[in-house]
């Protein structure tokens, strides 16, 4: 090994540490979904380990059969068979990199790691989508228009359950190993001082960006509308029906909620200052409690809706879901810019 190109000792130690942590992760839960409901003061938790499901799986399966969701069984997921091997594989790669000390190995492992993380999250989202949307049509409880896709990360209200999806210890450690890899990459990729300075500035800039995202992660996205508790910011009525709801979020992060498009537009007209730089979201009529940015949605105006303030407009994420709804609620299709004039 050439002296000037070999890794620092501290880098090697970090890599070995990362490899050991990865081995430990095999026995730790990677992800958790916490469920809260009024009649479960003790709470319910689903743990996803690298090689099995843990926590209150049986209780969750028992509850979910009412709404027609498929029961969860470890055997049904191919991911549980390959995850431990992938984790061991990365561990071995890290050890190799620490031992051999080649920069190209370091960069490759890091990129592979990131790619794996992204693929894992996509796969997780895809599974969650199927889990929440593939419902048994014979289920005893069918709430029209409702799907039960758990949140990818964060909070979502599903009927009487609040679902809260976050990494568990293993997941955090996995991310930690990723950060560790990144750090070692930065340390070992020695360039001239000027480039170093640029890289460092970029690192600081990246850190600041992360901080900003962290600060606003709960504020720039729309808040859930809580029926019976929240009041419409314009007409002050309590929310009895969230399907026609809309939200306006100012550039400062203040959230206004409306139970009817009529209220949203009246509010905007009376408060001209809020119109620019604000983000407007509508509740997707066909998809439970999800929000659609106003510019991306398509709209159906129909007198048969009987919305709380007679705005009679419902928003849809896609033309297809609008067409489905139009069969039940005949009316006119509108675009966002056509709505603005009302």
């Amino acid at each position: 090994m050439k002296h000037s190109l070999s890794f620092k000792n501290s880098s090697r130690i970090l890599l070995v540490l990362g490899a050991l942590v990865l081995l430990a992760i095999i026995k730790l839960p990677m992800w958790r979904i916490d469920l809260q409901a009024p009649q479960y003061p003790e709470g319910l938790t689903l743990f996803i380990y690298p090689n099995h499901l843990g926590g209150d799986v049986d209780i969750v399966n028992g509850l979910n059969h009412y709404i027609g969701m498929k029961p969860l069984h470890t055997e049904d997921f191919f991911e549980f068979k390959i995850l431990p091997f992938i984790t061991i594989g990365f561990s071995v790669l890290l050890l190799l990199t620490a031992f051999v000390g080649k920069r190209w190995m370091l960069i490759s492992v890091f990129i592979l790691f990131i790619i794996f993380g992204i693929i894992a999250m996509i796969d997780f989202w895809r599974w969650e989508y199927n889990y929440g949307h593939t419902l048994n049509p014979d289920a005893p409880i069918i709430v029209p228009g409702m799907a039960y896709q758990p949140p990818l990360i964060g909070f979502k209200q599903l009927l009487n359950f609040g679902a809260y999806s976050i990494p568990a210890l293993g997941g955090f450690l996995f991310v930690g190993v990723g950060i560790l890899l990144f750090a070692v990459n930065v340390i070992e990729l020695r360039y001239k001082k000027r480039v170093k300075a640029i890289i460092n500035k970029q690192a600081v800039a990246a850190a600041c960006a992360l901080l900003l995202i962290g600060f606003s992660s709960c504020n720039s996205s729309p808040e859930q509308i809580v029926l019976g508790k929240d009041n419409c910011s314009y007409c002050k009525m309590p929310f009895g029906d969230a399907r026609f709801g809309a939200e306006l979020i100012t550039s400062k992060g203040k959230v206004y909620k409306f139970d009817d498009a009529h209220c949203l537009f009246s509010f905007i007209n009376e408060n001209n200052s809020t119109k620019s730089n604000s983000k407007i979201y509508f509740i997707d009529f066909s998809g439970g409690h999800t929000f659609v940015p106003a510019e991306n949605a398509v709209y159906l105006k129909s007198e048969t809706f009987h919305t709380p303030m007679n705005g009679n407009i419902a928003a849809f994420q896609s033309q297809e879901s609008l067409q489905v709804a139009m069969q039940k609620f005949p009316g006119t299709v509108l675009q966002w810019n056509e709505l603005n004039t009302k």
């Binding site: 955090f172 750090a183 930065v186 019976g228």
Partner: protein
């Protein structure tokens, strides 16, 4: 710089991840208003404002609570034996639990209904239903004893019961399980449900003065499951409304198969017309067998008669009696508002609460606005009967009652809350969490013409952590709310006995002054009464021995009895001679297999059957702490061999030891 930026990155990443925690919802703590304690405290020596009669569910009894304190005042035995006071064990009360299947010592008491006059609670009786062996009981509210039990023929499962008409003309009993009728061959394959199984709604008439019940007639209806019902009031006085589910007519896996149709029904029955038809002889008689048991307060004895026939009218044949109103989805509660105009269906799997209008229903019937027939009964068009829907009130609506101010309050089982909404504009006014998963709620008079909108009591199905843990089997939890203001305020959380399915509360003043303090011994018509100690005796008739024994503080007469022989059937007829308030006496004797104690009230006579299994000496004693010398209130019985010559003797205070068997008590 490198190290700094590294650290900054690590900190930033950690911060981003930890900021996710700020999204985590917190558990809402109970919000109890500051003055709750004052509002529920009933000072020592003072009385509660309300009697709250609560069904015991699977304990087969009725409990009586005081409100607002939530204190348990009494458990009244109705359908289950009660060893505590000998109900179902004494010869006088055994006939109460007789049925056409024999003696059934338990049942499932689901619902209660206080008797009404002109739509207001009158405090005379309270009716209870038995779900397992279909029966209706009437409990006398001056003595708090079960006075009468009527079995129902052609029935299985008696859930839609015991709801009454405004003037207590009739008590109804609708079946939960459709089955072949009593005079059919019932030995058929189960999956011939749709062809062979039928449902019945029994109309029990109640005598205005005595309260005596009679199955006046039965309505034969399609084989669906009847759930709950209420009668109309005021303008809808002539009508009765029944919620029903399983209109899919499934006989297996009802969890799935009875939840398929988007709408089940509310059955509207014009009982006044039905009564006219029955009186005009339009029904046919069917041979059946059902028990009718009556407790006579003067003789303190009950008798059981088996009735042999019932009058049946078929809904299919009578064209203007029954109408189905579509109701989403597997409805449970079927509640009529105090004005009698609005009928609220609570579809337990529905995401809305439909409110029907009586006027619109009448118009739809007159206009023949039907969408077809279900098993011969016209089905009214949903929109033509509907006044409006309360949208997205919560999850799992079950029961609704009314506060008398134009609002309704509904329980939401799945989202574990109660929701108050205005009937006229169908808007939600308030919602409060309950702990946990409420089934029924009751407002005093909440299902009558004159609700007393002071409190709502919510009866929950899940207890978990509300009270100190008591192993896996927990009491149920009830909450008391003040509903006088705009927001409902939680005042009290108290555990309940058995499993309440229904409650009926009434102002204490309606009942408390009628309460009997003791029975007049001079009016005691029990054939085995001993009206004074002079009448106490022991009489042998072959193998049967009748002991007429009296109790008064603090001795029995007789208390020494000899001459009983093995193989005798002994009957202890115990009369409590006291004529004062709260001086009961108990009676228990050793070796009483399959029996319990007797608790005898002043002026009452009760009988215990006793068959000793071997010769010897058997003590008996008073089991209720009656006096300072209660511990001395006892006696002995001598049982001899079957062929012995011991004469029958009985006495108190005379059977002294003689000189030959009196060793000195103390020796030096």
């Amino acid at each position: 710089m490198k190290k700094f930026s590294n650290r900054v990155m690590i900190v930033a990443a950690a911060f981003m991840l930890s900021s996710l925690y700020s999204c985590k919802p917190k558990n809402t703590a109970d919000a109890v208003s500051g003055d709750a304690a004052e509002k529920v405290y009933v000072a020592p020596g003072k009385y509660d404002e309300f009697y709250d009669f609560v069904s015991g569910g699977f304990n087969g009894q009725m409990s009586v609570y005081g409100l607002p304190s939530g204190r348990l005042l009494k458990i009244v035995p109705v359908f289950s034996v009660f060893p505590e006071n000998g109900y179902g064990y004494s010869e006088e009360t055994k006939p109460m639990l007789n049925t056409s299947h024999g003696s059934v010592p338990w049942d499932d008491l689901h619902h209660l209904e206080l008797s009404q006059t002109n739509g207001e609670i009158d405090g005379r009786w309270i009716f209870a239903n038995a779900n397992n062996t279909p029966r209706v009981a009437r409990i006398d509210l001056s003595t708090f004893k079960t006075a009468e039990i009527m079995e129902l023929p052609n029935s299985a499962g008696n859930h839609s019961s015991p709801f009454i008409t405004e003037n207590t003309e009739y008590v109804v009993a609708g079946t939960r399980f459709a089955v072949p009728m009593d005079n059919q061959n019932g030995d058929v394959p189960i999956n011939t449900y749709r062809k062979n199984f039928k449902a019945s709604i029994s109309f029990i008439s109640v005598d205005k003065t005595t309260g005596n019940m009679k199955v006046a007639f039965q309505l034969r209806v399609p084989p669906v499951d009847f759930d709950l019902s209420h009668s109309g009031k005021g303008k809808s006085h002539d009508w009765f409304f029944f919620s029903c589910y399983n209109t899919e007519q499934a006989n297996t896996l009802l969890e799935v198969n009875a939840s398929q149709r988007d709408k089940d029904f509310i059955l509207a029955v014009n009982w006044k017309k039905l009564e006219e038809y029955a009186n005009a002889g339009k029904g046919h008689k069917e041979a059946v067998s059902y028990a009718h048991n009556v407790y006579n307060e003067e003789s303190h004895t009950s008798t059981s008669t088996i009735e042999k026939e019932v009058t049946v009218l078929d809904a299919k044949d009578l064209k203007d009696i029954c109408y189905f109103i579509p109701c989403p989805k597997s409805p449970h509660g079927c509640d009529v508002d105090p004005t009698g105009e609005y009928i609220v269906g609570s579809g337990k799997l529905a995401a809305l609460i439909p409110v029907f209008s009586f006027d619109k229903i009448q118009k739809a019937i007159a206009d023949k606005d039907f969408i077809g027939n279900y098993d011969g009964i016209p089905v009214i068009k949903y929109e033509s009967a509907l006044y409006g829907e309360v949208q997205k009130p919560g999850l799992g609506p079950l029961h609704t009652e009314f506060d008398g101010r134009g609002n309704a309050i509904t329980t939401m089982f799945v989202s574990s809350e109660i929701v108050r909404w205005n009937i006229k504009d169908l808007k939600i006014i308030d919602r409060q969490p309950t702990f946990y998963s409420p089934g029924h709620l009751s407002i005093p008079g909440g299902d009558t013409r004159k609700p007393n909108g002071k409190y709502v009591i919510v009866y929950n199905k899940i207890t978990k952590d509300r009270y100190l843990p008591t192993g896996p089997e927990l009491a149920q939890a009830a909450q008391l709310f003040d509903i006088t203001g705009d927001k409902m305020k939680l005042l009290l959380d108290f555990p309940t006995v058995g499993e309440p399915h229904y409650g009926q509360a009434v102002a204490a003043s309606v009942i408390k002054d009628k309460s009997v303090k003791f029975f007049d011994i001079n009016k005691n018509k029990n054939p085995y009464v001993a009206k004074g100690e002079a009448d106490a005796k022991v009489v042998r008739n072959g193998k049967r021995v009748d002991v007429y024994i009296t109790q008064i503080r603090s001795h029995f007469v007789p208390d020494n009895i000899e001459g009983i022989k093995m193989g005798d059937e002994v009957y202890w007829h115990v009369t409590n001679l006291e004529q004062d308030w709260d001086v009961p006496h108990g009676f228990a004797i050793k070796g009483a297999a399959n029996a319990a104690e007797l608790l005898v009230m002043p002026g009452e006579t009760q009988t215990l059957a006793w068959n000793p299994e071997k010769p010897g000496i058997y003590p008996f004693y008073c089991t209720d702490f009656c006096s300072a010398l209660h511990q001395e209130m006892q006696g002995y019985v001598r049982v001899s061999a079957a062929n012995s010559n011991v004469p029958l003797t009985f006495s108190t205070g005379k059977n002294m030891p003689d000189s030959t068997n009196t060793p000195p008590l103390l020796t030096q």
